[in-house]
């Protein structure tokens, strides 16, 4: 297990280095002044020299500055990242909490009315761009019914952001619904595969009822691929957060990237992309660890 972890971590480091390279290459494509804002005095030297100097700055926590004489990218990040984590965290938890039972249900009762209904809903949410979904939710649940705020929480304190459920609901819901659709489709297929396995038959033969079969046998086995998907989905979810944050005026990382893109603020885009990339690499690492915890075969086989 430790060897597996160590090797997996080395891979993650390699991925992070590659992420920085890709980001830096993208930076090379950017117009000159923007590049200078990031690489500083090294702007005229060789690509590799520039890259290493930039990497050195990044390692010292210097992601560049937002604008001449302005705030540093790192500082901007420090204030916006926790918000995004709240948004993404809540939505992902909700998505998992809904998608897992929904997927299992669809697999267990594929031809029931509820099963068909869930399937249709899954397809609908899957095919709806986040900005449409968010706008519709605002129109009906926010502006229409006045149940929830049409704008994300604006508080400075994270504690207040979390407790302001009225304003937090719609952004979280928008992001969650799209994520649910992705996860539920996957969960359904994983659970259906699991239900076909002989050990399920064996459990039934031992007198386990449907509940027990689904909860004790199918759930954990079908979670294994879903956890992998979760790890791979992190960048996608963060990308979704970008649309949701701008729609709900929620000043998180995605929002800042989006603003920066509008203003061609390359240092901000690059700095944040780098952090996203590193976050995703870590997420994928965590998913693999979770995978190993869920599936004892991995734990031992790779040890």
């Amino acid at each position: 297990m430790t060897a597996f972890l160590a090797r997996r971590m080395l891979q993650a480091i390699a991925v992070v280095i590659l992420v920085t390279l890709i980001v830096f290459t993208l930076l090379e494509l950017a117009p000159g002044p923007d590049r200078a804002a990031v690489v500083g005095t090294a702007a005229h030297s060789q690509f590799l020299v520039q890259y290493l100097s930039w990497l050195g700055q990044v390692l010292h926590g210097n992601l560049g500055v937002v604008s001449a004489g302005g705030e540093s990218v790192a500082a901007l990040l420090a204030t916006s990242l926790p918000r995004t984590l709240i948004l993404v965290g809540f939505s992902t938890l909700i998505a998992l909490a809904v998608a897992i039972p929904a997927g299992i249900f669809q697999a267990a009762r594929p031809s029931s009315v509820t099963g068909h209904g869930l399937r249709v809903l899954t397809y609908v949410f899957y095919s709806m761009p986040a900005f449409v979904l968010g706008s519709v939710l605002i129109l009906f649940l926010g502006v229409g019914a006045r149940w929830f705020g049409a704008e994300g929480p604006q508080y400075a304190g994270l504690g207040q952001v979390i407790t302001d459920w009225r304003d937090l609901t719609l952004p979280v819901l928008t992001l969650a619904l799209g994520t649910i659709a992705i996860f539920a489709r996957y969960m359904r297929s994983a659970a259906a595969d699991s239900l076909d396995e002989e050990y399920v038959e064996a459990a039934r033969a031992r007198g386990a009822d449907e509940r027990r079969v689904l909860l004790r046998h199918v759930l954990r086995n079908s979670l294994v691929p879903v956890v992998t998907l979760l790890g791979l989905s992190i960048p996608q979810i963060l990308g979704g957060a970008l649309v949701v944050e701008s729609l709900f005026n929620f000043p998180g990382v995605g929002f800042q990237i989006w603003q920066a893109a509008q203003n061609h603020n390359v240092p901000v885009i690059l700095g944040f992309t780098l952090v996203f990339g590193v976050g995703a690499a870590i997420g994928s690492l965590l998913a693999d660890i979770a995978y190993a915890l869920l599936d004892p075969r991995v734990r031992y086989a790779r040890a």
């Binding site: 900005f131 605002i138 129109l139 960048p235």
Partner: protein, 266 residues
């Protein structure tokens, strides 16, 4: 499921590409005086904020959505398959390096890369195809590599060596045709995805540029006035995009189920 999906797709293709031959509208000129008319005589689906007939516009917009979506989906699947097959085929260090590149690419949110590229290049249809494909091929690469690795150990592939055949034969005659099923499934998902990405790009103002139009920017324009009650502007392209994306996804699901039962042929 699969046949329903095909039926929807055929209908939507006919609607978008043959529809304008039957239903003639002026989608080029702007007539503010006809703006925001609700559905009725003359405009079965109403008009948009520029006075264009919504029904005709959904047809024209669908052409761009379908063209870009299909081209990007196919291209992504093609690139990803090549990369994945090469990675799985060479194995070893090459595989490790190629897959880490894919991992790194996946780690960067697609939308951010799109933002960056599209802010540098003017988003014309070919650029959008390239850009969407350039960010979507990664998942295919991963999938095809896994498939290639699995296929490489299949006994019928090993038989080629027993019979004295060389590796290219194993790849071309056995691995490739058998991976095609998986790739076909992936193409279907990729196309649906590409259409959605295109729509999201419209939200960020980076989608197809006027005078071209696609469903994404139709929806986006409509979403802006969502509280003004012009429901037909959002419903028409919204239903169209949903039908097509759902159909491609259903098609993929159906193909995958079919593949699954085929591989259990015993």
């Amino acid at each position: 499921m699969g046949s329903a999906a095909v039926a929807i797709l055929v209908a939507m293709f006919a609607f978008c590409f043959l529809g304008p031959l039957v239903y003639h509208t002026d989608q080029v000129h702007v007539f503010f005086k006809f703006a925001n008319l609700s559905p009725g005589a003359g405009h079965p689906l109403g008009t948009d904020a520029d006075g264009d007939d919504e029904l005709g516009r959904v047809m024209v917009g669908g052409q761009a959505s379908l063209e870009v979506g299909i081209a990007a989906g196919l291209l992504a699947a093609f690139l990803g398959s090549l990369w994945g097959a090469a990675s799985g085929y060479f194995g070893g260090v090459t595989d490790a390096v190629m897959m880490r590149i894919v991992d790194a690419g996946i780690a960067i949110p697609t939308i951010v890369v799109l933002l960056l590229i599209v802010t540098i290049y003017r988003p014309t249809e070919p650029v959008l195809v390239l850009v969407i494909a350039a960010t979507s091929w990664l998942s295919t690469a991963r999938l095809v590599r896994a498939e290639a690795l699995a296929l490489r150990t299949r006994e019928y592939v090993q038989m080629v060596r027993v019979m004295g055949g060389a590796s290219p034969r194993a790849v071309l005659r056995h691995i490739a045709p058998n991976a095609l099923g998986t790739i076909a499934v992936n193409v279907s998902f990729q196309i649906g995805n590409a259409i959605l990405i295109l729509a999201t790009l419209s939200y960020l103002g980076l989608g197809v540029q006027f005078p071209a139009v696609d469903w994404g920017n139709m929806i986006f324009s409509a979403v802006q006035t969502i509280s003004s009650g012009y429901w037909w502007q959002i419903v028409s392209p919204g239903v169209a995009i949903m039908l097509v994306v759902v159909a491609f996804t259903m098609l993929g699901d159906a193909l995958r189920d079919g593949l699954k039962s085929k591989s259990r042929g015993r």
